[in-house]
Amino acid sequence: MATEQTAAFEKQPMWAGGRSPFNVSYGKLMMWIFLLSDAFTFSSLLVQYGAQRFSNAESAVTTKWPDPASIFNHFPFMHGVHLPLLFVSVMTFILILSSVTMVLAVEAGHRNSKKEVQTYMLWTILGGVAFLSCQAWEWATFIHEGARLDSNLFGITEQGYKHLESVGFGDHFEWEAGDRTFGPVPFAALFFIVTGFHGFHVFSGVVINVVVYIMTLRGVFERRGHYEMIEKAGLYWHFVDLVWVFVFTFFYLI
């Protein structure tokens, strides 16, 4: 029946009004438009980050942009071990995995399988909470290292540069007193703003997921006859994953 309805519907003239020209529901279209505007928000932050970083790349040693590998090199319970990129890769893996469980929930919703939707939504929520916990640890470590919104201690003094030179610019290396000084302010500021903004999106995503999970439990979508709300929550959740791909690339890899 539903398929016949869709077929009849699709015969309507597309741009003559009175129907959705993109053949998606009103709610889903609005979600896409919101995501597009959110993409612009994140882009403006990343453009700012790129321009700031490049304007510090070639200047004097002491105001050089800090090397992320020498700062984001911690891992829980591995104190003092130089492990760049490892923790953030684990975070990426968690987010990709929770994206998969989300899309499996959407797929189960297409089959109107309430039980499966519940299971997968619960896994997705757990993934989101795990990611947020990791990010809290990452922030705590970064703040402990001396990063603040308005200053940070990741600049290198002339003495520090000579020290670094003496060990052949190795990655793993203990700073001595007087080696470090205030680094470029945007380094920590943009880290906090961009990962904070992303983390807030993850938090909102978890809240949305909890709401639709409870709605599923209470059988709201079963009565409605379709699980499109899971799909809309899923679009938002995947967008958060998508933003993380670029945060990961620009803040940690490059």
Partner: protein, 112 residues
């Protein structure tokens, strides 16, 4: 029930097109691709010294991951081309803006 033959006979705000399941095969394939690219990122990070080329590789990998997330997970591959273009075309301009401002940022750095 004949649906919807005349305008005004249905409520466009509540109309939800019927969605079919495509199965989970494509989704798991996408997961393995994303995981593979992330592992590859990780490997390149350690085996290749930092350079402009390495950065370009990372950005290209990021765009490939974005393609799979948006195409398969967000289902845009299976939506109408109108919708896909409305979303993708403006973001292409952002890539241009980023390239332009990196160039300008670099020029500012040289003058500092």
């Amino acid at each position: 029930m004949d649906f919807p033959t005349k305008p005004g006979e249905y409520d466009p705000i509540n109309y939800v097109p019927h969605a079919d399941s495509h199965g989970t095969k494509e989704l798991w394939k996408t997961f393995w691709i994303l995981l593979g690219i992330t592992v590859f990122d990780f490997v390149i990070y350690f085996v290749m010294p930092a350079s402009g080329l390495r950065n370009v590789i990372f950005i290209l990998f990021g765009l490939v991951k974005a393609y799979y997330i948006v195409g398969a997970f967000m289902h845009l591959k299976h939506e109408r081309i109108n919708l896909a273009l409305m979303i993708i075309v403006p973001t292409i301009f952002i890539v241009g803006l980023i390239m332009g401002l990196l160039y300008e940022g670099n020029a500012i750095g040289l003058m500092k």
